[in-house]
């Protein structure tokens, strides 16, 4: 487990860009934390790091957005508006993202349907608006070097 302290939006973006450099096809990243904690901003930084040219827009209303212009395809999902696990399954996002990177906002809500291996990033905001990102990997993520993110 590592903790990333991000006092500014730029810091959040830099952390995301560093993570992007380590990603491989099939990676699943799960983001959790309250509204406005910086999850979509993080995905935007991730997209920049993957060489994606399009602007990342929150997928809250369309549920899923796909970006194809980078080194790896990026599939960005937000489950905040879903009511049940079957609704999540119906999106079939693991299939959609099997050759790229899948990022799931509010993924803690659908934890039981997640694969064995994923990177979990929890966003916390303190009273001074400083974000702390807690990064925990499961499965093969435990063997991957995340120290570079610090």
């Amino acid at each position: 487990m590592i903790e990333l302290r991000c006092p500014t939006e730029a810091d959040t973006r830099v952390s995301a860009r560093k993570l992007a450099a380590t990603l491989r096809p099939g990676d699943v990243i799960v983001l959790s934390g309250s509204l406005g904690a910086g999850k979509t901003l993080f995905v935007s930084g991730l997209a920049t790091g993957l060489g994606i040219e399009e602007t990342v827009v929150s997928p809250s209303f369309v549920l899923v957005r796909q970006y194809e212009s980078g080194f790896l395809p990026l599939v960005h999902v937000d489950v905040y508006r879903l009511g049940s696990l079957n609704e999540f399954d119906d999106l079939d996002v693991f299939e959609l993202a099997s050759e790229g990177v899948l990022v799931i906002e509010w993924g803690d809500a659908i934890e039981s349907t997640l694969p064995d291996e994923y990177l979990k990033i929890e966003f916390a905001v303190d009273d001074d608006e400083v974000r702390t990102l807690t990064v925990v990997g499961t499965g093969s993520w435990e063997d991957r070097d995340l120290e570079g993110l610090l």
């Binding site: 934390g33 079957n86 693991f94 099997s98 809500a109 929890e122």
Partner: protein
């Protein structure tokens, strides 16, 4: 009897126009995604080749799974659209049955394997009979080790068909009484055969009542109130 068979439950998508037991035209494509772009042009191609129009159809047979969620929905939505437009029935057939029908064996127990992703496989067991196969088990979703254990526990010789290549490497090695064989994916022509049997015995519901067979876990409502109150992962 004239009908269309739609098979999109696995990476091997295919369609066929069949009259009684004769396949008049078929088209197929192996592609993990993209069933939606293949399906309607392929159906159109088959109609052109045969000289039929959709109004000639008496029924549409469709693979309702188990298999790939998106593929199944693409196939079922297309079948239901045709049914609504032309007032014909939708006959559901299952992927594992279509696989078993094409397994070539006279005496071996047949196991069919369909990859449903996330480390799980839909499996079913059959025995060959003159002119076809008989299913001896329900269709279930299992982890690969369970499939191996079931084959191992079964006396006599076995034939494993379906997407065996997606099983973990070496999973079935050392099972001397078991043999791997084609087909890898269910084919619309075999699906049509399964569907024809069901159609002739009136074994199909109203078109709108045909549902995908995902075999997934029972639905669970997301408890948002709890998540928002307790914070991420129930930690806060």
């Amino acid at each position: 009897m004239k009908f269309l068979a739609i098979e999109t439950a696995t990476p091997g998508a295919s369609v066929a126009l069949v009259e009684d037991a004769t396949t008049l035209a078929a088209a197929s494509r192996i592609d993990r995604l993209g069933h939606a772009t293949f399906l309607v042009p392929a159906i159109d191609f088959c109609f052109h080749q045969v000289g039929w129009s959709p109004s000639d159809l008496e029924a549409v047979v469709v693979d309702v799974g188990p298999g790939l969620y998106t593929g199944i929905r693409v196939g079922l939505a297309t079948a239901q659209g045709l049914a609504a437009a032309f007032g014909i029935p939708v006959v559901p057939a299952v992927s594992v049955d279509a696989l078993a029908l094409e397994a070539r064996t006279g005496h071996r127990t047949i196991w069919t394997v369909v990859d449903v992703r996330r480390g799980e496989f839909a499996i079913a067991r059959y025995r060959p009979v003159p002119g076809g196969v008989v299913r001896d088990s329900s269709t279930e979703l299992v982890k690969p080790e369970v499939l191996r254990a079931q084959i191992e526990a079964r006396p006599g010789q076995s034939l494993v068909v379906g997407d065996v290549a997606q099983l973990p490497e070496g999973l079935l090695s050392g099972l001397h009484r078991a043999k791997m064989a084609k087909p890898r994916y269910p084919y619309a022509v075999a699906l049509a055969e399964v569907g024809r049997g069901r159609y002739e015995r009136d074994l199909y519901p109203a078109p709108d009542d045909v549902r995908p067979l995902y075999l997934r876990e029972p639905d669970v409502t997301i408890n948002w109130a709890k998540i928002r109150q307790e914070g991420p992962w129930g930690s806060g």
